[in-house]
């Protein structure tokens, strides 16, 4: 989904739970949205251990430039000394509970320095989370720059 960041700023982060969800569904959605924020924090702090726990081993990540990454590739990029994320914000998040799967859509904004160059990106993302072995794990994540 996103890239990296040093400080997490959560602006206008709102979650609309789909109608007619049970209490258990609401709990699951709340937990997944908390994991989305934990993801931001982990990227900002280059905490690959935390990311390792959030990502399913078979996760498919499609980055903002359309590049396809495995879990190992994503974590390696996080560790890169050329990447210096500064701010990452997630907003307008909406979660849909589908059985043992939650689909989260939202908008991210991020700023940082990569390979010595400053960048600012804004994009839309969809993350899919699956409940596996008692944990919610992200199984797919895709980002697209907002160009319009």
């Amino acid at each position: 989904m996103k890239s990296a960041g040093l400080v997490t700023i959560l602006l206008c982060s709102a979650a609309w739970l789909t109608a007619a969800q049970s209490g258990a569904d609401v709990d699951a959605v709340t937990k997944v949205l908390a994991l989305e924020h934990a993801w931001n924090q982990a990227e900002e702090q280059k905490d690959t251990k935390a990311m390792d726990a959030i990502f399913d081993n078979a996760i498919v990540v499609v980055d903002y430039d359309g590049s396809l990454r495995t879990k190992a590739e994503f974590l390696a990029r996080m560790r890169s000394e050329n990447s210096h994320p500064q701010i990452e914000v997630t907003e307008s998040m909406t979660a849909h509970m589908l059985g043992t799967t939650v689909v989260v859509t939202g908008v991210y904004m991020m700023k940082g320095v990569e390979n010595g160059k400053a960048y600012a990106r804004r994009g839309r993302f969809i993350d899919t989370w699956a409940f596996k072995n008692g944990n919610w794990l992200c199984v797919t994540s895709q980002a697209t720059p907002i160009l319009h």
Binding site: V60, H96, T105, R124, T128, K132, Q142, A143
Partner: protein, 148 residues
């Protein structure tokens, strides 16, 4: 009506995945890939009736430019008389099953004419399908441009 027949076959042939262990994941994956191909054909032929069967009412569609569309908006975009797709191909598709939810990732190519000018799209996509009333329906679709 006859144009819808292949899609009806794919939809009606869907068994109860969670309850029937006899269903092989490979069969289900093949069925979902068939629906992906049916989707491509429906877009090329501007077959809105077919698309209505494939897409869930709550569809979340993120286009390659980051635009967020609901089902009604997406169907309107397909019907646009200024866009004339000539060739649509989805390739390198992988299906991951999570119970009654399936995630398909792949690469989408489309060529055609828009406002009288030729265009070419190449996108990485992720589609999320949910098994509902014994039919698979797409609830989320996300595209990101990649270089041609």
């Amino acid at each position: 009506m006859w144009k819808l027949f292949p899609i009806l076959l794919l939809l009606l042939g869907t068994p109860r995945l969670p309850a029937q262990s006899a269903v092989q994941p490979a069969e289900e994956q093949a069925r979902i890939l068939g629906l992906e191909n049916a989707w491509d054909r429906a877009v090329k032929e501007k077959d809105v009736a077919a698309l209505k069967m494939l897409l869930a009412p709550e569809l979340v569609y993120v286009d390659y430019d980051g635009k967020l569309l609901d089902k009604v908006q997406y169907l309107a975009s397909v019907q646009s008389p200024t866009v004339l797709p000539q060739r649509i191909v989805s390739e390198s598709m992988n299906v991951h099953l999570y119970g009654a939810v399936a995630v398909v990732s792949g690469v989408y190519r489309e060529t055609g004419e828009k406002n009288g000018k030729p265009y070419m799209l190449r996108e990485r996509f992720t589609d999320t399908w949910v098994l509902r009333s014994e039919s698979w329906m797409c609830v989320a679709s996300h595209s990101t441009s990649i270089s041609p």
